[in-house]
């Protein structure tokens, strides 16, 4: 075996284990060493559980020794965003209000990872309740970008993106409500995939905006993203919104290549609003696709310009309802109060950070009597327009493409005082959540400062096969193989 096992893809690690060249215990050890070298600087994990991970790795090694075929995730060290419930393992959602909460059950996605033999090593940092685009809104302090520790990893799943980039996990799960998988993947130079709404159970995922939330993987390759997707996707009776039909089969067409693929560039999202380096990398990738036989054309989807505003009414409205459950009664933080209402209002005021408070207020206002129709009702109609625009576009093309994020990683603190500027980081990723279809970000290059640039591919609902085929083609054409410089061990 050449090199450090912590840098392997999931596919390569599984092959090495199958061939008897690597044990799950040795792989876990490599990942533990990497985490020890990087965590003091990055702060990408909120909880690390190497005792539990050792047991899972030993179980995988024992099964391998018995000659059992355990599938592609057996013995693979993975991390999970801290908004997914893990039985007996602290789950904080990056919030003070859930400090010390130990869920009495596993989220379905987590249970499926465990059943596939994956080795869960810990919980990753995030913007509080997944609200944010930089992981600076965590009550436990920000995560830093492995490519430049002065910069944010994106968010809200910034910890999951950072651990995959840094090698302190081979894959990770995140959640994506308005871009919270794809945007941090773009800023950290890894693959981030949001499946079709409903394909991955939300049971045990702490709800932010229920009609938008979806769990998905972070990996170093598109093929690895398909592997994690296959492990966690599929109907779950515990989630009434989980899709009942079959999970799209993606493996057989993954390597079909770009020839004949009809690719639509979203005019509204692929122009001026993007940094020049981002636009240059995007255009270069389009030319490569065209050169390899894809049919590339530009399409106008007018509602894209309104999607951001609609999202910032719909998501806060749903969040204000969902977060009503954090009231100091059944779990989490409780402050004293003379009446139950005083207790609740004091607990919530102290338990929630500024961005969560802001969105609860915004959502409460948008849903309140007299304003419902003007704000929430109107936003829901714009959502219909977004869905119609997507449907029209997909009659002409197989996939739509945009830059994932208009900028590369920004500096820590740069946007914390300006919520609107922060919201604009998601302008390219939000329409996908409103529409319900799948989206993926693939790294395609670096800007002049050595920061990664992501290329986003979108497909219609349940279009995972063509989405991953196109993403794999982009990955092969871009040939992105850069990795962040190794951390100089433990400098904070």
């Amino acid at each position: 075996m050449n090199g450090d096992p912590a840098d392997l893809t999931i596919a390569a690690a599984a092959a090495a284990m199958c061939a008897g060249e690597l044990s799950a215990a040795a792989l876990l050890d490599a990942v533990r060493r990497r985490a020890a070298a990087t965590e003091a600087q990055l702060h990408a994990y909120l909880t690390l559980d190497f005792e539990g991970a050792e047991q899972a790795a030993a179980a995988a090694d024992a099964a391998l020794a018995r000659g059992e075929d355990l599938g592609p995730l057996a013995g693979i060290p993975v991390a999970v965003k801290d908004n997914m419930c893990t039985r007996g393992m602290e789950t904080t959602c990056g919030s003070r209000i859930l400090s010390g909460y130990h869920p009495p059950y596993d989220a379905t996605a987590v249970a499926r990872l465990r059943a596939a033999g994956a080795v869960l090593i810990g919980k990753t940092n995030m913007d509080e309740f997944a609200m944010g685009s930089s992981t600076e809104n965590s009550a436990y302090g920000p995560t830093r970008n492995p490519w430049d520790p002065e910069r944010v990893p994106g968010g809200s799943s910034g910890g999951s993106a950072a651990v995959v980039a840094a090698g302190s996990a081979l894959g990770a799960l995140g959640s994506d409500t308005g871009g919270s998988i794809r945007q941090p993947a773009s800023l950290c130079g890894v693959v981030g995939f949001k499946p079709t709404y409903g394909l991955v159970s939300r049971y045990g995922l702490v709800a932010f905006a229920s009609s938008l939330d979806q769990i998905g993987p972070f990996t170093r390759t598109v093929a690895d993203a398909a592997t994690l997707f296959e492990a966690v996707a599929g109907h779950d009776p515990s989630d009434a919104t989980s899709y009942r039909g079959p999970v799209p089969e993606v493996r057989s067409t993954l390597e079909a290549g770009p020839a004949g693929l009809r690719v639509g560039v979203v005019a509204e999202l692929a122009g001026e609003g993007n940094e020049p380096a981002v636009l240059a990398a995007f255009t270069r990738t389009l030319e490569a696709l065209q050169g390899a036989g894809a049919e590339v054309r530009e399409l106008s989807l007018p509602s894209m310009s309104y999607a951001l505003d609609a999202y910032y009414l719909i998501a806060p409205a749903e969040c204000s309802a969902n977060l009503a459950r954090f009231d100091g009664v059944r779990y989490g933080l409780r402050l004293p109060g003379d009446t139950v209402e005083e207790m609740m209002a004091a607990s919530r005021r102290d338990g929630f950070g500024p961005e969560v408070t802001r969105r609860i207020l915004l959502g409460t206002y948008a849903l309140s009597a007299g304003y419902y129709e003007a704000f929430y009702g109107r936003a829901q109609k714009v959502r219909t327009r977004v869905i119609e625009d997507f449907a029209r576009a997909y009659r002409e093309v197989d996939v739509l493409v945009t830059p994932t994020s208009p900028t590369t990683a920004f500096r820590i603190g740069e946007r914390t005082d300006d919520p609107l500027a922060m919201y604009l980081a998601d302008v390219g990723t939000i329409p996908c959540n409103l529409g319900g279809g799948p989206g993926i970000s693939v790294p395609v290059g670096l800007d002049g400062q050595g920061l990664p640039i992501g290329f986003q591919v979108l497909a219609p609902p349940l279009g995972e096969a063509v989405l991953l085929r196109a993403a794999r083609a982009v990955e092969a054409l871009a040939g992105f193989s850069a990795r962040p410089a190794p951390a100089t061990s433990g400098v904070g």
Partner: protein, 96 residues
């Protein structure tokens, strides 16, 4: 056009005990966000049906069968205060 917001009322509805300084700050920020969102008022969406959910789904119920539930002690073990099998809270009704 700045949007007028009764922030004290909104905070009360949301059960958030904010200080007056916090109310002023959040009120101003909400005003700016809602002003941006006013762009939606310019759209002609007369007669467009609202979408609450991206996929067409209706009455997704599981079979009504007895299943294992969470362990009561484990659940109550996470409560800030309890009394026997109950969650305990401060008074919520005045004594008669």
């Amino acid at each position: 056009m700045p949007v007028p917001i009764d922030i004290a009322k909104v905070a009360r509805l949301a059960r958030l005990a904010l200080t007056s300084e916090e109310m002023e700050r959040y009120g101003a920020q909400l005003g700016a966000i809602l002003e941006h969102a006013a762009s939606l008022q310019a759209l002609d969406i007369e007669g467009v049906p609202p979408t609450a959910h991206p996929l067409p789904m209706l009455n997704a119920l599981r079979p009504d069968e007895v299943e294992e539930t969470l362990d009561r002690e484990e659940v109550l073990g996470q409560a800030p205060d309890r009394e026997g099998p109950y969650f305990r809270v401060p008074p919520f009704m005045e004594e008669a």
